[in-house]
């Protein structure tokens, strides 16, 4: 069963259309990255999944239950883009509060395990207001994992982190995936998404404009061959076309000095998709 299914989701805020009929799926144990510029509808999509926002049309399911229902919320963990835990609570108390709300009976053992997972094992008694932004972000991920959710929805979990903090979050995501938890990761950081995600979905103006694995999206496109008369380029050719192209050039009497395939980065694919749609 898919961890998350969105079917023709539409969300309107007055005259503004935040989502214009989005359909997507996050499989069991899959880590899916959601990319898009500001205002693309990424956060709205995640919030509909969490039951924070109601869809105008269409529907979404979390682990087979309608998004927003008690059953759906029991299956997911969520980290908001902008969140704040009460500064007067300790890290352990934040987790305890969420354990109480989820109905988790794993007590101290779960709290210790989650704090250790996010690298906060030594600061369980520290108050939130004495923690750095990076520590609070990691505590947020630990909070989202309380109650062993099957689906994790993370909205910009690394937006305020330095490179070391982002690396730490990436490691946590790898660990989460190893545990079989599905993840919908909403992020601006393309390199991060490319490194950890099984699949990438690019949203623009409330619609999906590109979708696929990072490998598919960044597959080689075009071949460039350097000959004695200069470089020649075949934009539509791929790796499999190289032997034929080389043979053709040699038959024509050309000397071959080098062959290169053009492999776009995810950033280039993203910009191409976004610019193309933006006109």
């Amino acid at each position: 069963m898919a961890a998350f299914v969105a079917h023709e989701l539409v969300k309107r805020y007055g005259a503004t259309v935040a989502l214009g009929g989005v359909s997507l799926e996050v499989g069991e144990g899959e880590l899916v990255g959601l990319l898009g510029p500001n205002g693309a509808g990424k956060s709205t999509l995640v919030k509909i999944g969490c039951g924070l926002v109601r869809a105008s049309e269409g529907h979404a399911d979390v682990c087979g239950a309608p998004a927003g229902s008690k059953e759906a919320r029991a299956s997911l963990g969520y980290l908001a883009e902008l969140f704040r835990f009460p500064g007067w609570l300790t890290a352990g108390e934040v987790l305890k509060l969420h354990q109480d709300l989820v109905g988790s009976t794993r007590g101290t053992a779960e709290r210790k395990e989650l704090l250790s997972l996010v690298g906060l094992g030594e600061v369980g008694e520290r108050r939130v207001d004495a923690m750095s932004k990076g520590m609070q972000q990691r505590l947020g991920i630990a909070q989202a994992l309380v109650g062993s959710p099957r689906l994790l929805m993370l909205d910009e979990p690394t937006s305020a982190l330095d490179p070391a903090g982002r690396r730490a979050v990436r490691d946590i995501l790898e660990e989460v995936r190893a545990r079989g938890i599905s993840v919908l990761l909403n992020s601006h950081l393309l390199s991060e998404v490319e490194l950890v995600c099984d699949r990438v979905i690019i949203l623009l103006a409330g619609e999906i404009v590109a979708e696929g694995t990072p490998q598919d999206l960044t597959a080689a496109r075009g071949v460039e061959i350097e000959t004695d008369s200069g470089s020649r380029r075949w934009d539509e050719a791929g790796r499999d076309d190289i032997p034929a192209l080389v043979a053709q050039l040699v038959a024509e009497g050309a000397h071959i000095y080098g062959v290169r395939t053009s492999k776009p980065t995810l950033e280039e694919v993203y910009l191409e998709a976004v610019r193309g749609e933006m006109g």
Partner: protein, 285 residues
Amino acid sequence: MNATRVVATFTFKECARRRVFIVVPITTVAFLSLYALGNHYAFRSIGGSVAGPMGQVDARTLAGATLVGLSMFVTLFLGSALGIFLSFSAVRGDAEQGVLQPLVVRPVARTGLLLGRFLGACTLSIGYVSFLYLASVAITGATGGWWPQRLLSPLFHLAGGVTIVIALTLLGSVFLSALTNGIVMFMLYGAGLLAGLFGQLGGVLRSSALESTGKVVSWALPFEALYQSGLNSLTASATGVTRVIVQLGPLGGAQPGGPLLVLWSLAYLVLVGGLALFAFARRDL
């Protein structure tokens, strides 16, 4: 029910950690000391009965009822202020800060979360109001030997008033940002106070229009009507000219509410609470 309990407990814990339980008792001791001083000088300066232009006035009852009435006015204000501060940011304010969302996505009903805030704020505010009222009555009784004939009736009315203020604040918090909601609630409180004064003034000036205006507003904001009714029950033992003077009341006339006021207050509470729960359940966060 679990969420209600968890959130209500959370409210207590927050008050404890934010040192509310230290600061409020200190300021309360300061208030009660001042009140005791006022009682001391007031009762020291009076005799038994005083002959006035309309007849004999029981000076001790007049002083005692006026002092406890003043204390009730302050008690309602402080209890309401505590309730407002505990609940004015409950929904939109907390959502804007990003505090609410992590809680709402948990498998608990939104109604449970809001009821938890309501119960937590009510328990603390009513507890505080009860202490302050009973302490004031004890000070007046010990200093001047005057005790209200109905000890608990004014307290129930005060508690009802604070409960309604908290319910209104929670309703406001669904639609308004924390700052706006806080301002609106204190303005509503002021409007209620003004209505009481209108009623009092209308009675003195024999202006039925002014009296009616005061009455309508007091019932539209029933915490004021409850306060007036509580004040009235405080002076139930007074008779004759003393009763007339005392019923003019400090900062708002004493008016009997009767069983209809209790029923109306309960219906009002259900209506306001129900509206808050309904609106919160449908609100995008």
